[in-house]
C-alpha cells in the first residue's frame, strides 16, 4: 500500500513524471572492474569501454531492465598481460568483442536490489544474479554492484591457463555506474 502510494511521488522527483526511461550514464564517472587472484594475490583490472542501458525506477524495481555491454578488447592492467587477456586463450576480443549482460528480472533484495539474467562471454552463456545498490545523487543516481563468475565456465583462460593455482577460477565483476538523470530521447 505504502509502496504504491509513494511511487508517483518518487517518480516525480526522480524523473519528472516519467516512470520508465533510460538512465543517462556518465561514462567518465563510471567504472567496470574485474578482480581475481593470481598466486594468492588480489589483482584488479579495468574495462575502459562499456555501455549500460538501465531502465530502472527504484520505486518500481520489478519494471526495470538492465543491459550492460563490455568491450572485451578494452581490458586494461599492464601491456604484457593485456595482450594475453585480450587474446584467443582468454577473452578472444577479435572474435568476441562484446561481453553482454541482459536482465530477465529485477527485484528488491533487502536494502538493495538484484538483477538476474544472462551473461554471455566468448559465445558462452550463463545465468547470473547481480546484486546492486542504488542511491540517488545529483539529479540521477549511482548503481553499484558486484557478482562472481567462474572464468572456466566461459572458457576464459584456455589450455595452459586452465590451471587455477596460478589464476583463480573466481572472477569478480564490479561496476559503478553513475547516472545524471533520465535520457530525454529515451522517454516512453
Amino acid at each position: 500500500m505504502i509502496r504504491w502510494s509513494m511511487a508517483p511521488i518518487l517518480a516525480l522527483v526522480l524523473s519528472s513524471g516519467v516512470t520508465t526511461a533510460e538512465q543517462n550514464i556518465v561514462y567518465g564517472k563510471s567504472r567496470v572492474v574485474c578482480a581475481s587472484r593470481q598466486m594468492g594475490v588480489p589483482v584488479e583490472a579495468e574495462f575502459k569501454q562499456f555501455t549500460a542501458h538501465i531502465d530502472f525506477d527504484p520505486a518500481q524495481p520489478a519494471t526495470g531492465k538492465i543491459q550492460i555491454e563490455i568491450g572485451t578488447g578494452s581490458f586494461e592492467f599492464d601491456p604484457e598481460i593485456d595482450d594475453e587477456v585480450r587474446g584467443r586463450l582468454w577473452l578472444d576480443a577479435n572474435d568476441f568483442p562484446q561481453a553482454r549482460f541482459v536482465s530477465s528480472e529485477v527485484r528488491k533484495n533487502g536494502a538493495g536490489y538484484e538483477a538476474s539474467g544472462t551473461l554471455s562471454i566468448k559465445g558462452v552463456s550463463g545465468q547470473v544474479v547481480m546484486p546492486f545498490t542504488y542511491r540517488p545523487a545529483d539529479g540521477g543516481g549511482v548503481f553499484e554492484g558486484a557478482f562472481t563468475i567462474s572464468r572456466l565456465h566461459y572458457n576464459i583462460g584456455e589450455g595452459k591457463w586452465k590451471d587455477t593455482d596460478t589464476v583463480a577460477d573466481d572472477v569478480q565483476i564490479k561496476f559503478r555506474l553513475v547516472s545524471n538523470g533520465m535520457s530525454a530521447q529515451k522517454k516512453k
Binding site: M39, G40, V41, F77, D78, T166, V167
Partner: protein, 185 residues
C-alpha cells in the same frame, strides 16, 4: 687475541652463506624469468622470486641486528689502512644493498598494481597506488641496485681469495670454518 674476535659466530657464518645462497637463487631466477613469454610458469617464477626477496629481507634485518650487537673479528694487523677502509666501506654497502634490493622490488611490484603476498598467504602492505611511470622507474632502480650488488660481490670474492692465496691470512677461514689454513710463506 681470544677466539671471540678471531672468528665469526656460527650464527653469523650461517646467515652469511644462507643469504648468499638465497640471493644467488633470486638473482638467477629474476634474470631468467623476465625474458620468458607470459605463461602460468612465468607467474609462478615471479611469485617465487618475490617470496625469496621477502625472505632475504627478513634475514638481512636479523643479520644487521646481529652485526650491530656483536663484536666482529678485526682485520689482520698487517692489512694496509686503505684496504681496511675499502673492506669496511664495501661491507656497509653490501648490508645496504641486501636490504635495499628487496625493498625496491616490493615497491616496484606495489606501484605496478600487484601486491606482494608472502607464500600466497601473508599480504604485505601495499603502500603505493598503481602508477605506471613510478613502477617503470622502480624497475630500473631494482635492476641497477642488482648490478651494483653483482659488482660488489665480485670484488668481495676476489678480495677473500686474495687474503687466502696471496696474503695467506685467516680472513677467508673466518667465514669458511672448515677451510684448511695455508702455511704462511
Amino acid at each position: 687475541m681470544d677466539s671471540q674476535t678471531v672468528s665469526y659466530t656460527r650464527t653469523a657464518v650461517t646467515l652469511h652463506w644462507l643469504i648468499f645462497a638465497l640471493i644467488a637463487c633470486g638473482f638467477a631466477l629474476g634474470h631468467y624469468m623476465v625474458g620468458l613469454p607470459l605463461s602460468p610458469m612465468k607467474l609462478r617464477y615471479i611469485s617465487w622470486h618475490k617470496w625469496l626477496g621477502v625472505t632475504i629481507f627478513m634475514l638481512a634485518i636479523v643479520r644487521i641486528v646481529w652485526r650491530a650487537t656483536h663484536r666482529v673479528p678485526a682485520p689482520p694487523a698487517a692489512m694496509p689502512a686503505w684496504q681496511k677502509a675499502a673492506a669496511g666501506a664495501s661491507h656497509i654497502m653490501l648490508y645496504i644493498l641486501i636490504v635495499a634490493i628487496p625493498l625496491s622490488g616490493w615497491l616496484y611490484s606495489s606501484a605496478a598494481g600487484v601486491q606482494t603476498v608472502y607464500f600466497g598467504v601473508i599480504p604485505l602492505p601495499d603502500i603505493l597506488s598503481k602508477d605506471k611511470p613510478l613502477s617503470g622507474f622502480l624497475k630500473e632502480v631494482h635492476g641497477i641496485l642488482n648490478n651494483g650488488l653483482a659488482i660488489l660481490v665480485a670484488i668481495h670474492v676476489v678480495a677473500a681469495l686474495k687474503h687466502y692465496f696471496i696474503d695467506r691470512d685467516s680472513v677467508l677461514k673466518r667465514m669458511l670454518p672448515f677451510l684448511q689454513p695455508r702455511e704462511p710463506r
